[in-house]
Amino acid sequence: MNILDRYHAMDYGPAPEARNEADAWLAARDFSKALFIDGTWKAASGGKSFETSEPSSGKLLAKVSDARATDIDAAVAAAAKALPKWSASSGYVRAKVLYAIGRAMQRHQRLFAVLETIDNGKPIRESRDIDVPLAIRHFIHHAGWAQALDRDFPGHKGVGVVGQIIPWNFPLLMLAWKIAPALAAGCTVVLKPAEFTPLTSILFAEICERAGVPKGVVNIVQGGPEAGAAIVNHPGVQKIAFTGSSEVGKIIRKATAGSGKKLSLELGGKSAFIVFEDADLDSAVEGLVDGIWFNQGQVCCAGSRLLVQEGIADALIAKVKTRMSRLRVGSPLDKNTDIGPLVDLTQLDRVKGLVAEGARQGAVCWQPDAALPSSGHYHLPTLATGVSPANILAQEEVFGPVLATMTFRNTEEAIELANNTRYGLAASVWSENVNLALHVAPQLKAGVVWVNGTNMFDAACGFGGYRESGFGREGGREGMFEYLTAKLPLGPVIKPATISAPPVEQADGSAIDRTAKLFIGGKQIRPDGNYSLAVATAKGKLAGEVGLGSRKDIRDAVSAARACKGWPDATAYNRSQVLYYLAENLSGRADEFSARLVQLTGVTAKAAREEVDQSIERLFLYAGLADKFEGRVHQPPARAVTLALHEPVGVVGIVAPDTSPLLGLISLVAPALAMGNTVVAVPSEKYPLLATDLYQVIEYSDVPAGAINIVTGRTAELAGVLAKHDDVDGLWVFADAETCAKAEADSIGNLKRVWSGNGRGLDWASDEAAGDAFLRRAVEVKNVWVPYGD
C-alpha cells in the first residue's frame, strides 16, 4: 500500500509500542529466584514454579518461583525483623524512601507499562496513561502521609507486619495502593501478587532494592493459593489487606475470625451507571467506554449496569452501539487498541458462559461486527438489553466487557434499581442538574460515586465498598487508618456466661410487680417465645425477670431498625438535640439508675452514681459530636472536588458487655446513634434490667421509633443471630472470645462490618473509651466525585 492508497483509505494502521526493552528485561531475569525476601532474591523452598503467559498470544513469558508456606514464614520473619527499626524511623526517613520509590518508578515508567501490558493484556494506552502514572502518584502522595503521621493521626501507630494479596487486573496499581500507605504508616509488608501477573511486581522489587528500602521492609512473594492462605493464617501478621473476589474475601474473613488481625477487603462489584434524561448523552456514552470497556471490563468498579431513563433509552442505546462499533479490539501493545484480550482462557470462558446464560434468561446480547485476532483470549464488547433485575447479567459480576442495560421511570426507581444488589462498590450518576445528582449520590449504597464521570481514581481520595464489595478504604486520609492502630484502654477478659440456677427469692417484696419487655420499633413488646430470664441481684436474689429474646425478636428488631428513616434522615443537629434530651432525662432519674446498679452489681453507691454520671456525660459528648465528626473535601489533581462524606453504616447490632452495664451500653449505642445508625442492642445478659429501665427514658426522649431497639436474652445466642442476619450492616461485639470469633466468622453472609473486643472489654470509665475511634466505626466514608466547569 503506497502513501496515496493510504491517503484515500485514511485508516490508522498499526502503531506498535516497542517491546525490546521489556523482552531484554525478561531474558536477563532469573525467574527461578523470584521471591524477594529480606532484600534478597530466593528460589521457592519447594523448588516449584508456575507459568505466566501472554494473554494476546498464549505464549509462555516466564516460569516463576511458586512460594510455599515455609517461604511465607521466611518473608513474615523478615518483615517482623525489619519492623522495629522501620516503625521507629522518623516520618522524614520513610517519606524519603517513598519518594525515592516514586521517582525511580517514574524513571522506568515505560518499562513498567510495556511489561504490564505484555503480562496482563491491557491496552498500552491504559497501562501507560492510567495504571503506571497513578501508581507513581500513590507513592509520592503517601510520602507526605509518612511525614504528616504525628500531625494528622495523633495517638496512632503502624499496625505492624501486613500481609497483602492483590489481583491480576491492575497488578502494579494495586501493589501501589497496598504498599504505599503501609510504608507511610511504618508497617512492613509481605505482598503476594496474582499468579497471572507477577512481572511488574518483580520489577518493582528491583526498584525497592535500588531506592534504598531497608531489607525486609518490603517482601514480595510470588505464588498461588497456598502462599495466599499461608499469609492469611500466619500468626505473625497483624493485618490482612486483600483485593479480589467477594468469594475469596469471605474465606479470608472467616479464616481470620478471632485472630485479632485487622482486615480490609476490596472485593467485587456490580456498579450502576445511571443516566438521567437531562444528561449529556454523548458524554455518558464516553463514560461507558471508560467504565465497562476499560481494561476489558476486568475492573471491580466497572459500570456494568446501565440504568437509563425511559425517555432517552432508545437514543442512548443507539449512540452506545455506534460508539461500540468504533472500539478497536486487537493487540494490547498497539497504541490504537481500545480493547485487548482477557487475562486468561479461564476468564474468557467464564465471560462467554455468563453471556450465554444471560441470553438464555432473556437478555438480548449485541456485539459490533468486528473481527477478532486469530489468537489470544479476546472477547468483543457486548451490550445486553432487556435485562431483568433477576437476570444473571444484572446479578453477577461478569468481569468482562459486558454491559447490562435496564430502564427506569423516575429518580426513586433509579435509586432502587441501583441499590438492588449485594454489592456496593461504585456508581456513576449522569445529569446536568447538580440538584438531581447531589440528591441521588447520598442515596446510593456505594463507596464511590462519580457525578458525570466514571473510573476516576486518586491517591488522595478513598476507594472502597459498601456491602459485599468489602470494607476499609484505600487512598486518602481514610485509607491511612487501615494501616494504623490507636490503643483503646482494655478492660478485663470476658468469660462466657454461665447459666446458673435462677434465684427464687424476690429481692424486695413491697413493690408492685413490674414486667420488663423487649423494646422494638418504639414499643414495649413481649418476647416472641414468651419465655423469661430471671435476673439476680448482687446477693443472688431475684431482681426481676426480662424477656428471653430469640432469633425472631432479633428479626423483628432488625426490621424495625431498617424501617426507621426518621433517624438516619434527620439532620445531625436534630440527632444532637435528641441525644442531649436523652441525657437530660437520664439525669432526672440518676438516683433510680444508681440504685439499680447497686442492686444488680453490688458496687458502692458512690461508684454507681459515678457510672450513671459518666453515662450522662458520654451521651452529652456524642450529642455534641453528632454534627462535628464531619467528612472532608479531597483535592484530586483534576478540576473536581471529591466529597468524602460520612454516612451511617446502617443497621448496627450492638452486643454490650457485663462490666459497667450502663456505661458500656451507652458508650457503644451513643456514637452509633450520633452518626445516624439505627441500633439493635443486646444488653448485658447478667444485668439487663438497666437496659429495660433505659427504654422508659428513651420513650419520652423523642427518639424515633426503631432508632434504638433492645432485645434482652442470651448474649452468645443473640450475637450469633445478629451475625448471621444479612440485613445487619455492622456488628459491635463485646463478649467472650468465642462469641466474638463466631460473630466474625458468621458475618460473611453479607460481609457486615464487625468490631469485636476479641474477648476483652474496654475500660469503659476511661476517657479514652470514647471519641473518634468509636465514631469512625459508626460511619462509612463515601467519596463523591464532582467534576465541575462550564
Binding site: 500500500m1 502513501i3 493510504r6 485514511m10 494506552r125 458525570n452 465541575y788
Partner: protein, 348 residues
C-alpha cells in the same frame, strides 16, 4: 427537563430579507453532497442538545488524542489529508495583492518537488482546498487560482466582529460573491448568543445564506468569545438550522483559538443535526492550529466522532496559515529521516 431554551425579547423584529440571487454564479462549486437547505428554527430540538458537560468533553479529547496514534506512511498520508482539507489563509491588516498572489502560488504548489516525488504524489492534485482572504483580494485570488480547482473563500460580514449593520454585511457578501468567491466565511454577532436572541441570529444567518447564493456559507461562531460549550452547541444548531454549509470555530482574532473541546461540542452538534435531518454539515476549526501534530489530533477527532466522510474537503477544513510549512517539514523528515527547517520550504 430541568430548563428550557429561553428566547429573549426580540426587540425590533428582524424580517428575513427576501432571498436574493447571487451576484455571481459562474463557478459552480464542486461539492458532492446534498446542500443543507436549513430548517425552521426549532427551539425544542435545541433544548434536546443543550446538555454539554465541559469536564466530560475535556476528558474525551484528552484521551482521544492518546487513544490513536498514526505512524510512518500512514502519518504521511494523514498529513497530506490535512493539506487537502486546508483553507490556506491570510487575514492580516497589511495584506497586499502581491502577498495574496504568493499565497495562491503556495496553494497551487504546496510541496517542494523532491518531497512530492518522494511521496509518490507528484502527479496528484493534493493541495489546499481553498485560499481564504479579505474581500479586497478576492478578485486577485480568483485570478491566481483559476483552473486549479482551488476555491476562494472570503471572510465577510464585518469580520472579525460582525458588528456592522446587517444590510452592510449582506452587501459585503454579495460583493465578494460578485468578485468570484465561492465560499463565504461569515461571523455572527456574539451578543445575539449572550442575549439568547436565537430568532434574530437565525434570521440573520438565513439572510446571509440567501446572499451567498450558490457560494457556500461557513458560519464562524467566535467560540473564544462564547464562554461556554453550551453556547457553542446552541449557536452551532442555530447556524445549521439557518442553512450553514459549514460551521467554523473562530476568526483567529479572539483571545482563545480553536480548542479540541470546542471542536468536540461542534462536531457533536453536527452529528445531532445529521441524525435529525439527514444533512451533512461541514466543520472548520480555525486559529492556532499550526503544528502537524495538532492537525492529526483534529483529523482523529473527525474520524472518531463523525466518521470517514468528514475527512474530505467538502466536509472538513482547517483554517490555517503556518500549518502548511510545518506539515511540509514533517513530510521531509518522513522521507529523509532528517529534521527540516522552515527556510528550506517555500514560504506562502
Amino acid at each position: 427537563m430541568s430548563s428550557t431554551i429561553r428566547e429573549a425579547d426580540l426587540g425590533t423584529k428582524v424580517t428575513p430579507l427576501p432571498a436574493r440571487a447571487a451576484a455571481n454564479t459562474a463557478v459552480p462549486p464542486d461539492h458532492r453532497i446534498a446542500r443543507n437547505p436549513g430548517m425552521k428554527l426549532d427551539l425544542g430540538f435545541m433544548e434536546s442538545v443543550r446538555s454539554v458537560n465541559r469536564s466530560a468533553l475535556e476528558r474525551r479529547v484528552a484521551s482521544l488524542t492518546k487513544r490513536r496514534s498514526i505512524k510512518a506512511d500512514n502519518q504521511a498520508a494523514w498529513l497530506l489529508r490535512a493539506v487537502a482539507c486546508m483553507d490556506l489563509t491570510t487575514l492580516n491588516s497589511n495584506d497586499t495583492e502581491e502577498r495574496v498572489r504568493r499565497l495562491c502560488a503556495k496553494a497551487i504548489n504546496p510541496f517542494r518537488r523532491d518531497i512530492a516525488e518522494g511521496l509518490g504524489i507528484a502527479d496528484e492534485k493534493i493541495h489546499p482546498a481553498a485560499v481564504c482572504v479579505y474581500h479586497p483580494f478576492v478578485a486577485t485570488a480568483v485570478e491566481a487560482v483559476r483552473g486549479t480547482g482551488i476555491h476562494v473563500a472570503a471572510v465577510s460580514t464585518a469580520f472579525p466582529h460582525g458588528l456592522a449593520p446587517l444590510t452592510t454585511r449582506l452587501q459585503e457578501i454579495e460583493a465578494s460573491v460578485r468578485d468570484g468567491a465561492d465560499e463565504i466565511d461569515v461571523v455572527i454577532p456574539r451578543g445575539l448568543v449572550f442575549g439568547a436572541k436565537w430568532r434574530e441570529l437565525y434570521n440573520e444567518i438565513v439572510s446571509m445564506r440567501a446572499a451567498c447564493g450558490d457560494a457556500h456559507l461557513k458560519v464562524i461562531l467566535g467560540t473564544g468569545d462564547l464562554a461556554t460549550l453550551r453556547n457553542v452547541m446552541l449557536a452551532s444548531m442555530v447556524a445549521m438550522m439557518a442553512g450553514a454549509d459549514f460551521i467554523k470555530t473562530s476568526t483567529g482574532k479572539e483571545s482563545v483559538n480553536a480548542t479540541l473541546p470546542v471542536g468536540l461540542a461542534m462536531v457533536r452538534a453536527i452529528r445531532a443535526y445529521f441524525e435529525e435531518t439527514g444533512y451533512l454539515i461541514g466543520f472548520k476549526p480555525a486559529g492556532g492550529i499550526s503544528t502537524a501534530k495538532a492537525s492529526l489530533d483534529w483529523l482523529v477527532l473527525m474520524k472518531e466522532e463523525l466518521g470517514r466522510p468528514w475527512l474530505e474537503p467538502d466536509l472538513f477544513r482547517f483554517g490555517a496559515s503556518s500549518l502548511l510549512t510545518d506539515i511540509e517539514r514533517q513530510l521531509e523528515h518522513h522521507l529523509t529521516g532528517h529534521y527540516s527547517a522552515n527556510h528550506r520550504h517555500a514560504m506562502a
